[in-house]
């Protein structure tokens, strides 16, 4: 049975939700793919309902990778322009980091440390499904471990994961 998918406008919003980095990064920055406004509005609905976000500590490792992709595509431009491309890039990354911290500050949240047990569970999920990336599998492993079925993600791989309540706005 595939994931049970939800529109971002569906109510009520879940009180606990595992947030994949794809959702958080799209809610933060507009990369021109049309996901930013819906993701941001759903994040605002979660904030307004004081929902609890659950995310893996890996988000802080995935962030610079995302900033690099956005910077290279021209979607991440620093407010403070430097004299050279290197300064621009460093400014852009540090402004994006500040945005991420400011975003998370608005939520009740738990940061989940990646334990060996979670890595084993993620490893099993990658093997089981065949289409999940390790990072996506980790979000599903966190969801299983905590008993929180709701996952916010803008990554199409989640659509065919059994037993989850997927908040993807039906966009992927």
């Amino acid at each position: 049975m595939p994931a049970n998918r939800h529109l971002f406008s569906s109510t009520p919003v879940p009180p606990y939700i595992v947030t994949d980095s794809s959702f958080i990064f799209h809610a933060l920055i507009d990369d021109g793919r049309g996901f930013h406004i819906p993701a941001r509005d759903f994040a605002e609905a979660l904030r307004s309902a004081n929902s609890t976000l659950l995310y893996s500590s890996l988000i802080f490792l995935e962030a610079p990778q995302c900033w690099r992709r956005l910077h290279n595509s021209g979607a991440l431009v620093p407010m403070q322009r430097g004299m050279d491309p290197l300064t621009d890039r460093i400014n852009a990354f540090s402004e994006a980091d500040a945005k991420l911290i400011g975003f998370l500050a608005r939520f009740r949240k738990y940061e989940v440390r990646i334990t060996k047990a979670l890595m084993r569970a993620a490893n099993h999920l990658v093997a089981h499904y065949g289409f999940l990336s390790s990072h996506d599998a980790l979000a599903v492993a966190v969801s299983d471990d905590l008993g929180v079925a709701d996952i916010a993600a803008l990554d199409r791989d989640f659509k065919n994961v059994n037993g989850i309540e997927l908040w993807d706005g039906l966009l992927t």
């Binding site: 009180p15 507009d30 605002e44 307004s48 998370l104 608005r106 949240k109 738990y110 008993g147």
Partner: protein
């Protein structure tokens, strides 16, 4: 239904507390009650362009 929901929430909180005691999760309450900032789009939407052309 409401009782069932509350019981599920207490199970989640209990699991989170258990993991927090082992240092496997860390809790942070919100430190800002501000709304998420509205981001001004850099690009004009197709609708904006259509309206502009129609006004000419």
């Amino acid at each position: 239904m409401e009782i069932e929901k509350r019981s599920r929430h207490s199970q989640i909180e209990a699991r989170l507390k258990e993991l927090a005691s082992k240092g496997e999760v860390s809790f942070q309450d919100r430190t800002s009650s501000d709304r998420l900032p509205e981001i001004k789009l850099k690009r004009k939407s197709r609708l904006d362009r259509v309206v502009k052309v129609a006004k000419r």
